[in-house]
């Protein structure tokens, strides 16, 4: 009986794995496996914003929503790194960060949504994950510290070594 169950579980795992690997990805020179669409990618560490900007610059046709609790992103720096400012919507969300993220995802016109927040609770993250899945958007969460939360599909840690970014994959679902 247990063997049958184990077999079924294995089959199920294989199905889930296959489904994940069928998922579209945004190609990025710094992330070998690419950044998955319809999922949350969390980036932590020094150089996390640089990495997110690089991904946006390397996919120049997509509209981007950049949401922060207290906006500190410098738009001109994005322009210097090859991101056209006419495709980036900046949102200074304040305490309504989760609401703003959900609104933007529900609109289904932003293939890339970047959220810069020190902390997001599990419920919010789950709602964002579902909305990202429906919208087929790559939701990138820039956090100061890496968080091991289950709605995150890809967890990256960036560090800067001799001025260059070094990326480590902490979790890849």
């Amino acid at each position: 009986m247990n063997a049958v169950k184990a077999e079924r579980f294995a089959a199920l795992r294989a199905q889930i794995h296959a489904q994940y690997h069928q998922r579209e990805v945004f190609l990025c020179s710094a992330v070998t496996q690419g950044v998955p669409r319809g999922a949350i990618t969390a980036i932590a560490g020094v150089g996390k914003t640089e990495l997110a900007v690089r991904l946006i610059a390397e996919n120049p046709t997509f509209r981007v929503a950049w949401i922060e609790e207290h906006l500190s992103i410098f738009p001109l720096a994005l322009l210097q790194r090859g991101v056209g400012l006419n495709r980036v919507l900046f949102i200074d969300a304040g305490p309504d960060l989760a609401w703003s993220a959900l609104q933007v995802l529900k609109a289904q016109i932003f293939p890339v949504v970047v959220i810069y927040a020190a902390d997001l609770d599990l419920n919010t993250l789950r709602r964002v994950q579902l909305a990202a899945e429906t919208a087929n958007s790559a939701c990138i969460w820039l956090a100061d510290e890496p968080k091991n939360l289950w709605p995150i599909s890809l967890q990256l840690q960036s560090i800067r070594v001799d001025g260059e970014l070094a990326i480590t994959t902490l979790k890849s679902a």
Binding site: V46, T49, R63, S72, P75, A77, Q80, L85, F90, I91
Partner: protein, 408 residues
């Protein structure tokens, strides 16, 4: 009047009679057929909760007569239809009532019989009105159209009578939808889009009700032509406000007034690309965000000619043009207010944070508008041992250090 405004989108030449609305569509044949206009008018009528007969003819009186007597051809019209030919824009029942009786006695029962009568006899018996009717019937004379002027203030509302209850948001949205729909039809009819509106909700007045009239003034970031998008913005606002201050009694009247509108038409969707649809969605989501977060909280950034980081870009919702930045690389994060940092030996200290300096690059001197009292700043890129890079400046000739950005 509201219906006439909504119909302005079909033809610019309109006239409002006491029983009918007239539209000149002769010049619009290439835009739509009579059948499609018929269907579109039915939709408009349904939204205004009205029913009407629609008829098309070569002249105003005939179209009115065909609609009134539910006929398809002029020859089938009864003799009573001559009243339509006398004063179509303002029918007076007594004008030719006697003449109709006489015609009936004489056996003239239809318009077809009337046309066969000799003109001389008509003038002698029925005077100038008889002759005028004959002229209009034969198409020998043209009627001057009274000018239709849309009202200055566009207000749409609904009174909730007995049986129609609205005590919470969902019930209110049910009635509000129809009101917004009609208001937008009227605005779009005039070739305009809503950019600001006032929502008024009147509650039943009794002792416990402190504020029977609740008013919301809403400014939209992008002009809206879609009822659905406008309704979702209203819903968000009502939801938020009614959670804090719920309704005190049943709603009696819901009213929407268009306070600001701009020239513009709803974009026609492209069959092959969804560019227009995407733009509409973008405007809708930005409107929703700015409505809740504040006017400049969702924006695009446009570069502006200034060396100082806090002034070299502006918030906009318009087009952002191409711009080349020739300055050295800037940090991705810039603090709203530069923070004072202390330099102690090889360390930089800002509040509770401390960085050990590994390398310093710079300075890059930036000068602002001296006529506003801006002082020159020397910016340094300071590399910390942790890998972090800070953007720190000092005022020229000063020893104070300020942290202004991070190469995150």
């Amino acid at each position: 009047m509201g219906l006439a405004e909504a119909c302005c989108r079909f033809s610019p030449q309109l006239a409002v009679g006491d029983r009918a609305l007239f539209m000149e569509i002769g010049a619009c044949r290439r835009l739509y057929s009579e059948e499609s206009l018929h269907q579109r008018l039915q939709v408009v009528l349904r939204r205004f909760e009205m029913s009407a007969r629609i008829a098309c003819a070569d002249d105003v009186p005939t179209s009115l007569a065909l609609a009134m007597y539910n006929q398809t051809s002029k020859d089938q019209l009864p003799i009573e239809a001559i009243q339509c030919y006398s004063t179509p824009f303002n029918i007076r029942s007594d004008t030719l009532a006697k003449a109709v009786q006489v015609f009936r006695k004489l056996g003239v029962v239809s318009i077809a019989d009337f046309v066969k009568l000799r003109t001389k006899g008509l003038v002698r018996r029925f005077g100038k009105e008889g002759l005028l009717v004959r002229h209009y019937l034969e198409g020998a004379a043209q009627l001057p159209w009274p000018r239709f002027v849309p009202p200055e203030h566009l207000v749409e509302g609904v009174d909730l009578q007995e049986g129609a209850v609205a005590m919470d948001l969902e019930q209110m949205i049910f009635y509000l939808k129809a009101v917004v729909d009609r208001a937008l039809l009227r605005v779009r009819g005039q070739g305009r889009l809503i950019s600001g509106l006032a929502l008024r909700i009147e509650q039943e007045r009794h002792k416990q009700v402190g504020e029977p009239m609740r008013i919301w003034n809403i400014d939209l970031a992008f002009p809206q032509g879609s009822a659905l998008a406008t309704l979702s913005i209203l819903r968000e606002r009502l939801d938020r406000d009614l959670q804090r201050f719920p309704l005190e009694s049943a709603v009696q009247r819901i009213e929407v007034e268009v306070t600001r509108s701009v020239q513009g038409r709803s974009r026609q969707h492209d069959l092959f690309t969804n560019k227009e649809k995407e733009l509409e969605s973008f405007q809708s989501v930005v409107s929703r965000l700015t409505e809740k977060l504040g006017f400049h909280k969702a924006f695009l950034a446009a570069p502006h000619e200034s060396h100082l980081p806090e002034r070299c870009w502006r918030k906009t919702l318009g087009e952002v043009g191409e711009f080349k930045v020739l300055a050295p690389p800037r940090p991705l994060r810039v603090l709203r207010q530069p923070q004072a940092v202390r330099r102690i030996d090889n360390f930089l200290v800002c509040g509770r944070r401390r960085w050990k300096v590994a390398a310093i690059r710079g300075p890059e001197r930036l000068s602002g508008d001296w006529w506003f009292g801006d002082r020159e700043r020397d910016y340094y890129r300071i590399e910390a041992e942790t890998g972090e890079e800070l953007w720190v400046f000092t005022f020229a000739g000063s020893d104070e250090h300020y942290l202004h950005g991070l190469f995150d």
